[in-house]
């Protein structure tokens, strides 16, 4: 009780004197705000990319991947697909057909002469079961492509970002004209994706295998049974994986890069800010030697002095953290970024802000340690 009263007394005295020491206090706050602001904004890239990736993942989606290959690079033959269609546990569509989506992806590249910007978008040959596989997919204009015809449907980001994707526009692909007949929204996805009939694409680009096969199950609980049925079938050279697993896998590399960069930069700035805080607190302690010596002379313990300086340091770091988090949110939340050829919106989430605050409190604690020990060495005799 005595210790608490002593500690509170010193702390209040310290805080009330901050007008005379405004410069060092501001140094701590600004330093911490910068460190937290930078860390939170950089981590917001990873959080934004992740939020977008997992937004459309469904528990009843299963992706079949050629053993050893990564997603979208499978080679699944027509014979294998015939076997897959007969597997148990697959949800049946409105006409009683199993909801299996076959894809064959062709990367298309072009450049608009006017702006010189390169356009890259995947042209995905796909079966029309996709609308039942992804219930969140809906047409905002036009209609689905008709199998066998040279028709394309484009996701809304295509029409927003590039020219030549209005309904009725014709795009030359492989020597013939393809008409854009529909626009669709695909959940949270911000990528430009163009769909066409898979059989058409495969015959034109002379492909014999599908690059991806996905299945919608009757219920997420059927996954284990379905996976076992796939691995037990000697005719299949594929592995069944949950969509969430495939998405995480594909996202791992980008995530690792973003996290590495964020923490690398964040740590360096935090070290700099902590050093600045140490210097400022030393200055504060030095300018208060007389008061501290008086307190010690009238019976305050060195423990109370140490704890009060530490708490003061943490208290100054706290508004810095809030300021940094707020700046990151105001400046960067919702900002579109496309590092490493992948576009998404930055997301400054509450958990990131909390992380920033914890980070700041750590800086305050570490930064206050040495100055607090110096303050503890001030003795009543120093009054003389």
């Amino acid at each position: 009780m005595n210790f608490t009263r002593q500690f509170l007394g010193i702390l209040l005295m310290n805080l009330s004197g901050f007008r005379q020491r405004i410069a060092p206090v501001l140094t701590i706050i600004i330093g911490v705000a910068c460190a937290v602001g930078v860390l939170v904004s950089m981590l917001a890239m990873g959080a934004g990319a992740r939020r977008q990736e997992i937004a459309d993942v469904r528990a009843d989606h299963v992706v079949l991947v050629t053993s050893g290959a990564s997603y979208g690079q499978s080679n699944i033959s027509r014979d294998e697909v015939a076997t897959i269609l007969g597997l148990p546990g697959i949800l049946k569509g409105t006409q009683g057909e199993p909801i299996v989506v076959l894809e064959s992806m062709v990367p298309i590249e072009g450049r608009r002469r006017v702006t010189g910007n390169r356009i890259y978008f995947p042209l995905v040959g796909i079966t029309s079961t996709v609308t039942q596989y992804q219930p969140q997919m809906r047409f905002t204009a036009g209609r689905m492509f008709k199998p066998g015809l040279h028709e394309l449907i484009a996701s809304n980001p295509c029409a927003r970002q590039f020219t030549g994707f209005e309904i009725g526009d014709r795009r030359p692909i492989h020597g013939s004209d393809w008409a854009v007949v529909g626009h669709f929204e695909q959940g949270q996805g911000q990528q430009c994706v163009v769909y066409a009939d898979v059989d058409n694409i495969m015959s034109i680009f002379s492909r014999n295998t599908y690059s991806s096969v996905s299945v919608r199950l009757q219920s997420p609980a059927d996954f284990a049974a379905f996976r076992d049925a796939v691995s037990a079938n000697p005719a299949l050279h594929v592995e069944a994986q949950r969509e969430s697993q495939v998405v995480e896998e594909g996202f791992k590399q980008l995530n690792a890069i973003l996290n590495f960069v964020s923490y690398f930069v964040g740590t360096i700035i935090a070290i700099g800010a902590t050093l600045g805080a140490v210097n400022s607190l030393y200055a504060i302690v030095d300018s208060r030697r007389r008061e501290l010596a008086t307190l010690r002379a009238i019976g305050f313990t060195s423990g109370a002095v140490v704890v009060s300086i530490l708490v003061e340091s943490i208290l100054w770091a706290f508004p810095g953290a809030l300021l940094g988090g707020a700046l990151a949110w105001v400046l960067f939340n919702g900002l579109s970024a496309s590092p490493f050829g992948y576009s998404f919106q930055l997301a400054v989430t509450p958990s990131l802000v909390v992380l920033g605050i914890v980070w700041a409190l750590g800086m305050g604690l570490i930064g206050g340690l040495l100055p607090a020990l110096r303050a503890a060495r001030v003795h009543g005799n120093h009054l003389a």
Binding site: L26, T27, G110, G175, L275, P339
Partner: protein, 380 residues
């Protein structure tokens, strides 16, 4: 010069404080070096790629094959020196995770002019005389332990005439590639052999490489080639290697804004922190400075002392931080192959250090210069 000891003792008046400022500046410039190095490094990589080497591919990018017959047509465009057909396919060695890019070329007269490869003449000659020969990228010799004379079996999705999708080549040499955009795991083989042996797509190529007789006319020649084929069944798109590198690294360029924001935030925070420290230091030293002036040092001399003190600490610390950045930089080049830190970044960093030192010492130095001796001594 004779004032050096005076400045030196000024710097070390409070060793703890000076050390902390030193470390802080050092850390800030470490970050400056790495981030600015990344940005400038990417610009250099793009600048170093050849603008005088053109790639002619189908209007849709690399998915559309072009007929080999176009070679003569491209050659007839004025300004074109060498045209080299290139066919690409993917293969795996032993297991699916060991992917290889196979580049089929025609080792004709002067073909190397149209590539960024460096190949020993005897290896190039060996490829010409060995139909099933392959020149492997240098790193692969280490990765898989391949050496000249080895027979390497590959699996692919490209079928041979007999229906098999397995291919085998004989290693006849190694090559290095100066192009940063190129794949690391690639081998070069004879187009003639590959085209004869494959089942589908005979007589087509992915793209043509074009070397120019006058490198300065790259843009005009590229346009002339595209115009030549504009209304044919095989419309082309011609880019220089530099344009391709640019679009590949453009994604990193999108981070420019972020890098600039971080660097300026760090420098401003540093400026603020050091300026307050300098002011604090001058306040504490008021009596000493007054004594200096009493001894006859002019206002200007005192002003310069303070400025030089800051300058020495900052430049030394910045040099230390930039040196650290040079050491750490290879970590960043994991993300972008071929990246190295340009020395211009070091110069830029030192210039920034001088600027920040001047700015943060300016106010305290003016205060020190304007100090009134009587008042300062009386305050003691």
């Amino acid at each position: 010069m004779k004032f050096l000891p005076l400045i030196w003792s000024g710097i070390w008046r409070k060793p703890g404080r000076t050390n902390l400022i030193f470390l802080q500046v050092c850390v800030a410039f470490l970050l400056f070096g790495v981030l600015q190095g990344l940005k400038t490094g990417v610009e250099h990589v793009i600048g170093d790629t050849r603008a005088d080497l053109l790639l002619v591919h189908g209007g849709l990018g690399l998915v559309d094959p072009l007929p080999l017959g176009m070679l003569e047509g491209i050659k007839s465009v004025p300004g074109v020196k060498v045209v080299a057909p290139v066919e690409l396919f993917g293969a795996v060695y032993q297991n699916p995770s060991q992917k290889l890019g196979v580049v089929a070329i025609r080792p004709d007269e002067g073909w190397l002019d149209a590539f960024t490869f460096t190949i020993a003449p005897e290896h190039a000659a060996a490829l010409r005389s060995t139909r099933t020969g392959a020149i492997i990228r240098e790193g692969l010799a280490k990765t898989y332990g391949w050496k000249v004379g080895d027979h390497i079996p590959l699996m692919s999705t490209t079928a041979q005439m007999n229906g098999s999708t397995d291919w085998a080549f004989d290693v006849v040499g190694t090559y290095t590639d100066a192009d940063v955009g190129a794949g690391r795991e690639t081998i070069l083989i004879n187009y003639a052999y590959f085209d004869e042996a494959r089942l589908t797509g005979k007589g087509t190529v992915k793209h043509f490489n074009v070397a120019l007789s006058d490198p300065r006319r790259a843009v005009q020649v590229a346009d002339a080639i595209d115009r030549r084929f504009a209304n044919s069944a095989n419309a082309t798109q011609t880019d220089s290697l530099r344009e391709l590198a640019q679009s590949q690294l453009q994604s990193i360029g999108d981070l420019d804004f972020l890098i600039r924001a971080i660097v300026s935030v760090v420098l401003v925070a540093l400026l603020f922190a050091t300026a307050t420290m300098m002011m604090q230091s001058i306040r504490e030293r008021t009596p000493e400075l007054a004594v200096l002036k009493t001894l006859g040092f002019t206002d200007r001399a005192v002003f310069l002392f303070i400025l030089v003190e800051a300058m020495v600490v900052f430049v030394a610390a910045a040099a230390c931080g930039l040196a650290l950045a040079l050491v750490v930089f290879p970590l960043a080049s994991r993300i972008i192959p071929g990246l190295s830190m340009p020395l211009v970044v070091v110069a830029l960093g030192l210039a920034c250090a001088v600027l920040v030192a001047t700015l943060s010492a300016l106010v305290p130095a003016v205060q020190a210069a304007r100090l009134n001796i009587v008042a300062a001594l009386a305050a003691r």
